[in-house]
């Protein structure tokens, strides 16, 4: 193994261990970069610039949160799942059922309950499913989601079946800020705050040693086993956290739309978030943001007017991305940026 040869920096007397370039990179990796506040500034600017599009904006923020949760499982840990809507739906139905039956509807605690229920579903399914990989795992996650969807459909006495649970009444946040379906200012700010909290959590996770071991598992599971990493527990933990965040996104969706239906559990939703993440670039934290904005803006303005042309264009785009731009929009931008920098350097 080539790793046994000591890096040149370690043998030289001048360079301390902590000043080795690799060590510096590891220490500074998690630091905030200058452009990182940009999405949040844009999100706040959107609030003032497009007050008539806040409903769309709220939807966009929720989609970002959902894609972010998928990024943790799929992008970082490499868990090939096509059934992430299972957790989105679990969260949405938790909020929906509690509010519809008048049991509990306070927004913030409801979201926490949604996270707990989704986490339990994620933990239970992860415990049995994550022993498998590849196509088998893909099929198992897919079938678990379809199972839940069919279950929700069959239990229509409680879930309303295909029609879902309409007109949930959600009380104001802190008893002050009301959800107004026509002027969704509260929904937008509320979703933005929840997304921010979720983002901070994911960001802290992926730069932690835990997150690092997830990347290791994605890159080479056999070697992580060999170095003694508790691979399966790491995967189950990651899957559970990811499920909890997806559950929060689902709960938010139910609260801001004031209804729940079967689409929250559907293959359509799972495939869409999958496409969004890979479109933006998976395993790179901001891919969820870029992909969701690109997809949602295009679909919002094209899909209603020209649904067939939109589907054709989307299909072609996915084919092109898969063939020529393996790492999505962010991947293209990064390689372009690098090319510009190497062009500058020699001069």
């Amino acid at each position: 193994m080539s790793a046994t040869a000591a890096p040149s920096g370690l043998t030289g007397p001048a360079l301390e261990l902590s000043e080795h370039p690799a060590a510096r990179m590891l220490i500074g990796r998690h630091r905030l970069r200058w452009w990182e506040p940009t999405p949040w500034i844009l999100a706040i600017a959107f609030y003032f610039a497009f007050p008539s599009y806040l409903g769309f904006g709220t939807d966009l923020l929720i989609t970002i949160l959902f894609a972010l949760s998928l990024d943790l499982a799929l992008g970082y840990a490499g868990i090939l799942t096509l059934g992430h809507a299972a957790f989105f739906g679990a969260g949405a139905y938790t909020v929906g059922l509690l509010a519809f039956n008048g049991v509990w509807s306070e927004p913030i605690t409801s979201l926490i309950l949604a996270a707990v229920v989704a986490a339990v579903v994620g933990f239970a399914s992860g415990l049995v499913l994550l022993r498998t990989t590849g196509l088998t795992l893909l099929m198992l996650t897919l079938c678990t989601m379809l199972l839940l969807e069919e279950g929700a459909n069959m239990a229509h006495e409680y879930t309303g079946g295909f029609d879902g649970l309409p007109s949930l009444s959600i009380p104001p946040i802190f008893g002050i800020f009301e959800f107004n379906p026509l002027y969704p200012h509260t929904q937008y700010i509320y979703s933005l705050v929840v997304l921010f909290v979720g983002f901070l959590l994911v960001r802290a996770l992926i730069y932690s040693p835990f997150g690092q071991s997830l990347t290791g598992i994605r890159e080479n599971m056999l070697r992580m086993h060999a170095v003694g990493s508790p691979v399966r527990w790491r995967l189950v933990t990651c899957y559970t956290i990811s499920a909890a965040i997806a559950g929060v996104a689902g709960g938010l969706w139910a609260q801001t739309n004031a209804y729940v239906n079967l689409t929250t559990l559907s293959l359509d939703r799972a495939a869409t978030v999958f496409i969004i993440l890979i479109l933006g670039g998976y395993g790179r934290l901001y891919g969820a943001f870029v992909g969701a904005v690109a997809y949602m803006v295009l679909s919002h303005f094209l899909a209603r007017v020209y649904p067939t042309a939109w589907q054709l264009g989307l299909g072609l785009l996915l084919v092109v991305i898969a063939l020529f731009a393996r790492n999505g929009i962010l991947g293209i931008s990064e390689s372009l940026w690098r090319r510009i920098q190497t062009m500058r350097r020699p001069s």
Partner: protein, 291 residues
């Protein structure tokens, strides 16, 4: 009433559905076993073939058998071109890119057929000779279903012989078992894959046309039944003909029974069964080699 004549008719109905599932899915199983390529666009090729067959019959007045042959040839040719131009570039890519690529292809097929042919369901009427009932001695049953079962059996036996008794079949089996070893023995895996991919898509086309009678044929076909094709392939095991056959019959009969007795949400049992079977045997029920 589950006894006597009913058992026979349920079995026959389920068998005919299972045969169609088998004809569509067998190509997917073999190509996935060969290259490990997650091909979600297989249903799209079945749909394309179904459209060629049904449109040739309805609009051009082509006979049933020539239309089936035409569907096979056209779809095999189209898929061959796709494989050489596009799929080939993604063999060494990750599963994520393969999934993204093939989902994209499905969307393109759906939108393309909607634009060119239209969003409505294409009607399929079996030829006059296959309409009505046929007397089997112990029961009367729909002639077309019996025809499907016969065709299915012929195809299973043919494929099994091809798989087990020919040189090409031996090469496929060797490659499924150990691709690198097969390559180092001088088997041209690329060429092998092109041939099986085109042939498998052609089979899917036949399945799309033959099954149009009860599966229907509209642009959403490629997505609607994809889950079933994938279930059959993953339960049967990748790269096996017999495994996919047994899994198709199992799922076909089960689905038929559930639709009959539990018309609302009976598919939940199919998903549950799939999960249990895959947890028990992650490589599929009938996978020969344990690697």
């Amino acid at each position: 009433m589950i006894f006597g004549v009913d058992v026979a008719s349920i079995l026959l109905g389920g068998l005919s559905a299972g045969m169609v599932l088998f004809i569509v899915s067998v190509g997917l199983s073999v190509t996935m076993g060969l290259m490990g390529f997650v091909n979600l666009a297989h249903g799209a090729f079945a749909m394309l073939g179904g459209y060629v067959i049904v449109l040739a019959m309805n609009r051009l007045g082509v006979g049933f058998v020539p239309a089936l042959m035409l569907g096979f040839v056209v779809t095999a040719a189209v898929s061959f071109v796709f494989e050489r131009l596009l799929y080939k570039r993604l063999y060494r890519a990750g599963e994520l890119d393969q999934v993204l690529f093939t989902i994209g292809l499905v969307f393109v097929f759906i939108a393309g057929l909607t634009i060119i042919v239209g969003p409505e369901t294409q009607p399929f009427t079996p030829p006059a000779a296959l309409r009505g009932q046929v007397d089997l001695g112990f029961t009367q049953y729909r002639a077309y279903s019996i025809f499907l079962i016969v065709v299915g059996i012929v195809i299973v036996v043919g494929l099994w012989l091809g798989f087990e008794r020919t040189r090409l079949g031996a090469q496929i089996r060797a490659t499924v078992d150990n691709r690198r070893m097969a390559e180092s023995l001088g088997i041209n895996v690329d060429r092998l894959f092109s041939i099986t991919f085109a042939f498998g898509s052609g089979m899917a086309a036949l399945g799309g046309g033959l099954g149009a009678e009860f599966l229907g044929l509209d642009p959403q076909y490629a997505l609607k039944y994809l889950v079933f094709f994938l279930i059959v392939v993953s339960v049967g095991g990748l790269g096996t003909v017999t495994g996919v056959f047994y899994a198709s019959i199992l799922i076909g009969v089960l689905d038929f029974v559930l639709k009959l007795y539990l018309p609302k949400g009976g598919t939940i049992f199919i998903f549950a069964l799939t999960i249990l079977l895959l947890l028990w045997r992650p490589q599929g029920l009938f996978k020969r080699t344990e690697t």
